[in-house]
Symmetry: C2
Subunit: 321 residues, 2 copies
């Protein structure tokens, strides 16, 4: 199962449902074990935001930059060898910025916005960007329609995700997650097709509420996964009672759930047959199996690409791919 | 007539009609002799172009950057201390660029485009940009409406100005200048007001066809200048049979006129009472005076800001300001 020597027929893709940084790390490992062109990544766009008139898709960009080997590996998002000259100048007009957009990164947002204004769909533009940056995997936004994630924290109005997470630094007790537009937004047809025909589907270790939640909220996604849940795996984003990155732990707590892999497994009960937890959380394996899931215990901390590849290998083996 | 000690009442402005680089050099001199807040610059927008989905106004930016002391003085346009990271990345999506947009410069275009999309008028946005960059003079686009300059060269279709000038490096025999939209475009009301109430008006040494031509083509502009032509001066952009910068000489030739200050003076005959030529063109003074213009002979080469200030002083004196 090394790159370019996969036993899968070409049509049978490994589909990964992805948020941003955690998902990208996993996918970097995955494409060391599966030929990149056999990897399809379905990416959350609920965090998309307009900055300076430009359509910014943080999760799409994190996944694409990672697959293109252009990501800033230290921080996990944004471009490597980045500068912030334009952002500094924009401060003259807009005041102090709170969302880091680099000079290289701006090119992506300019192109995306330009193409969308010409009438192109987000999925087309995403594909064009991926191709232009040399990505061989298929990168699909979950939808071409707007679905926006809002986070309601105590004592505040509901905030768009980036305002809550980046501007507000994820402070405050989370009371509610709102997926605005979820009813009207249609899953990308290519996403439903990919899920239907996949050799296996993997839910990356992303936030279950604001990263994978929006994807799973789209009509047809859960319904497509459920009948083949034995071929669907999820990797817990909760390790040892907290998240590696992001506010999933605070959200679980705020929404009244225990900060444990078990809470996440319960959210995926209907659609996931294989649930992967870190060795530190071995004690949850029995409880997870009671959810009629196979519990896989392994090292899930992806501090290096080769550790990510090892994790991918364990997941693929459990899925019998 | 030094800065801050002008004999003019505050309401009486010195208005300059301006293209890009040559005009900006002159204005830099002018604001050394007249308090900057008493200077109003009316700027050509016929060269405006859309790049990467952004509204770029090259002449407005050249004038504004110059007045803000942020211009790259060596080249006369663009920002000082500039980098081109975004442009380099855009090449991945659009192919090799032919119009230089720097990282600092991009901030201006982003802001302008964002505000225009919100429904702001170009004149409002131009004012906001000037204020944000610390400019004390009034910078007015000639119009809020689109008027686009096209250049027809032999053996080619008519090209938008930037394609002719920058992409095509002003090659080819000019057969015709087209000012598309000139009939529908209205002069900015503030421009007509400024011209009506000005202490004096100066036509900068800009291209008479593609820089000042579009301004003068707007209904009401020539009509407003004509009755007070004794208070209107023009500086010849033709010096010693050629231009300092730009294609005015090639255009005169292409359109069948002699490349001389006299040809330019004739174009302004109805609206200009004082015509300034360089010492090298002293021999044209008599012919210019036959056009019922006062001919002023002086050093018009603005190699330094203090030489530009000296030129401004001569022009102001001739206008009895």
């Amino acid at each position: 199962m090394v790159r370019g020597r996969s036993p899968l027929p070409p049509s049978r893709q490994i589909v990964t449902l992805a948020g941003g940084v955690g998902a990208a790390k996993f996918i970097r490992g995955l494409v060391r074990r599966i030929a990149p062109h056999r990897v399809t990544v379905v990416v959350n766009t609920g965090d998309d935001e307009t900055f300076y008139g430009l359509h910014v898709s943080p999760d799409l960009d994190t996944v694409t930059y990672t697959l293109a080997n252009l990501v800033n590996r230290r921080q996990g998002w944004g471009r490597v060898d980045e500068s912030f000259t334009t952002l500094g100048e924009l401060a003259r007009f807009y005041g102090k910025p709170w969302f880091a957009l680099g000079d290289r990164d701006f090119a992506t947002h300019l192109y995306r916005t330009d193409r969308l204004r010409m009438g192109a769909r987000l999925s087309e533009v995403t594909n064009e960007i991926a191709r232009a940056l040399g990505v061989k995997s298929q990168v699909l936004p979950m939808s071409d329609d707007p679905l926006r994630t809002f986070v309601k924290i105590r004592g505040s109005r509901a905030l768009p995700f980036q305002e809550y997470f980046v501007r507000g630094r994820a402070r405050g007790a989370v009371e509610r997650i709102e997926l605005r537009g979820a009813r009207r937004a249609r899953a990308l047809p290519a996403v439903l097709h990919a899920l239907r025909t996949a050799a296996a589907t993997i839910l990356a270790p992303s936030n279950p509420f604001v990263s994978l939640g929006p994807i799973l909220a789209l009509a047809g996604v859960r319904e497509t996964l459920a009948p083949s849940r034995r071929r669907v795996a999820a990797i817990s984003p909760i390790v040892g009672g907290r998240t590696i990155k992001g506010p999933a732990d605070r959200m679980l707590r705020g929404l009244g759930m225990a900060v444990s892999p078990l809470s996440v497994a319960r959210l995926y009960r209907d659609i996931v047959g294989v649930f992967v937890v870190d060795e530190i959380d071995r004690r949850y394996a029995g409880l997870i199996e009671k959810l009629e899931m196979e519990a896989v215990v392994t090292d899930t901390i992806m501090t290096t690409p080769s550790k990510a590849a090892r994790l991918a290998e364990v997941v693929l083996r459990a899925l019998e791919v």
